[in-house]
């Protein structure tokens, strides 16, 4: 199967700090790929570059065959590449249901003239989205909260709402930046199940995460980054004995690989 995401020779520096240097990797469609590495390895910067929140200094990012490098975030998202953040980002002042409706592709429904001229037809066209949103919220146990402001949810519920929003959005690929940050183990298991369901529904996941047992349990393939570039990839079990990986985690700076 060809790679859905293909990153080649990506560079990004902030002043004198080379956060991502000559980084190349690819992600196969229909799998959960983990992106691990010590702090400062450039994992989050790589996610920001792929999702369009940062512009690369050099390099090529191909998503589904299209060159998306340097495109603004909203245009990358419209191609079917959605991301989450280290801290959950919900629209706090809007209701849980509004959060779900905003996750669905707008498909031209947000035009001002439509709001003024055909409000009834707009409401009808949203009915399918609402039915789907209720079903998804039900599965995540959030349905009784659908009319509450999302800001009133607990930290764990916000994480669940983030995954529920991705189900509603149905992108081709999801980039997740540390989905377990601030989550208790029980909820972590639930989030892991949610991520597996995303893939079962046909999506591809690239996930940055520090919790290695969780990564081992969820991710088929793992990419290890250190000092701004991948140093190894494969199943996590095989990587545990890789000397370059051990060095990276134990703090010894490897010679140029």
């Amino acid at each position: 199967m060809p790679a859905l995401l293909d990153v080649r020779h990506l560079w990004k520096s902030f002043g004198g700090v080379h956060a991502v240097r000559d980084c190349s990797f690819d992600v196969e469609a229909g799998r959960i790929t983990g992106l691990i590495g010590p702090n400062g390895a450039g994992k989050s910067t790589a996610i920001d570059l792929i999702s369009g929140f940062l512009k690369p200094d050099a390099g090529v990012i191909r998503f589904a065959g299209l060159d998306v490098g340097g495109r603004p975030a909203h245009r990358v998202a419209r191609l079917g590449l959605v991301r989450t953040f280290q801290s959950p980002r919900v629209w706090a002042g809007l209701t849980v249901m509004e959060n779900m409706l905003l996750a669905a592709p707008e498909g031209g429904r947000e035009e001002v003239w439509r709001a003024v001229c055909t409000p009834a037809r707009l409401r009808e066209s949203e009915d399918a989205d609402r039915v789907q949103a209720r079903a998804i919220l039900g599965e995540f146990g959030l349905l009784p909260l659908k009319n509450d402001p999302a800001g009133n949810l607990s930290g764990g519920q916000k994480r669940l709402l983030e995954i529920a929003r991705i189900f509603q959005a149905r992108p081709r690929m999801v980039l997740m930046d540390e989905p377990l940050t601030g989550v208790n183990p029980v909820l972590g298991g639930r989030i892991g199940e949610g991520i597996k369901t995303l893939v079962a529904a046909g999506m591809t996941v690239l996930m940055v995460e520090h919790n290695l047992p969780f990564v081992e349990q969820v991710c088929g393939t793992v990419i290890v980054m250190a000092l701004g570039r991948p140093i190894a990839h494969g199943p996590l079990a095989a990587l545990r004995s890789d000397p370059a990986v051990v060095d990276a985690y134990l703090g010894q700076v490897p010679a140029r690989v």
Binding site: L94, E110, V112, R114, L122
Partner: protein, 334 residues
């Protein structure tokens, strides 16, 4: 007394139109726009120079255009001017600037506009100002001078209702929801495919068009307009109304502007006059606006009528809700 009440009511209705436009920018979009009064002023000026006779007929004042257009054309021109100015200011200020930086940029815009219009008397007659504005539709209606103000109040009220209904549709539409999502978290909005800049610019232009329309109604109400009629401080009065009434709520901000206007008209009327200090009254008024904003933000930050929340009612399970739980039942019935 009737004249006085009609005059106050007309002023309130026109200010309600102003505040509805600002509520789009601040309440829905979350951009602290201090230049807002400049968009009202540009609407007032443009409407005035479109409807007044040529300046050459009334020396020594000078102003551009002077086309003697009817009021409707003048008001449409004012809306267009408000929208175009919003497009220019928004295109510069909304692209990267947020929060305080955006507010400072809009403040600078308002001050620059005021300085240019004050000092170049050839555009809008500078400090002398424009005067002798027509009474809209009265060339056809030929109403008695005592009756006309009542008609104009009714006309402004009709415009206010139209603007209100337009904005209510917008608030509950996918566009309004997207605009509010940008206010709540624009990074997340971009991650779900929203063009944050384009959404903000649309909201900003809608606010500017409403300001221009309000300006056109205002200038014919006053009959004259000059530089001292508008300043950034006036925008604070509108913010006070938004905070008191309820940020983001169309009905709330209309309630807020009437409360604030009546409060200030009535309270400052009983202030003692201090001989030799004619500025005392206006100065106290500005201090009171500040205290009012602080007090509301401290004790009821959401305002009297908070922003309404979209209720999702599931037709399939509505019956089950009502039977199942008392809490859900009241909600389904509401």
């Amino acid at each position: 007394m009737i004249n006085y009440l009609v005059s106050i009511a007309t002023q309130g209705v026109i200010f309600a139109i102003f505040v509805l436009g600002l509520n789009v920018r601040w309440g829905w979009e979350g951009d602290l726009d201090i230049a807002y009064y400049a968009f009202i002023a540009i609407g007032a000026y443009i409407d005035a120079v479109l409807t007044l006779p040529p300046a050459g007929l009334r020396p020594p004042t000078e102003y551009i255009l002077g086309l003697r257009w009817p009021f409707v054309a003048g008001a449409l021109g004012a809306m267009l001017a408000g929208g175009l100015l919003s497009l220019v200011v928004g295109a510069i200020a909304l692209r990267k600037l947020r929060g305080d930086y955006f507010a400072i940029t809009t403040l600078a815009t308002a001050l620059i506009m005021q300085a240019v219009i004050s000092n170049d008397a050839r555009i809008f007659a500078g400090y002398n100002g424009l005067y002798g504005l027509s009474q809209p539709f009265n060339s056809v209606l030929r109403l008695d001078p005592h009756v006309y103000p009542v008609f104009y109040l009714a006309f402004c009220l009709a415009v206010l209702i139209a603007v209100y209904l337009f904005l209510e549709r917008l608030f509950w539409s996918p566009f309004g929801r997207a605009l509010r999502s940008v206010r709540e978290d624009e990074t997340a909005a971009a991650a779900f495919g929203r063009n944050v800049f384009a959404l903000k610019l649309k909201g900003y232009v809608i606010g500017g068009v409403i300001a221009g329309l309000g300006g056109a109604l205002f200038v014919h109400f006053l009959g004259a307009f000059n530089v001292s009629a508008w300043s950034p401080v006036e925008t604070l009065l509108l913010y006070a109304a938004i905070f008191v009434g309820g940020t983001g709520n169309n009905r709330g901000v209309i309630l807020g502007i009437f409360l604030v206007l009546i409060f200030f008209q009535e309270v400052t009327r009983f202030l003692p006059e201090i001989p030799g200090h004619p500025d005392f009254g206006p100065a106290v008024r500005e201090i009171l606006i500040g205290i009012l904003i602080l007090a509301v933000l401290r004790w009821r930050p959401q305002g009297i009528l908070p922003e309404p929340r979209a209720q999702d009612r599931d037709p399939a399970s509505a019956a089950g809700y009502a039977a199942g739980s008392a809490v859900a039942g009241t909600r389904a019935g509401g």
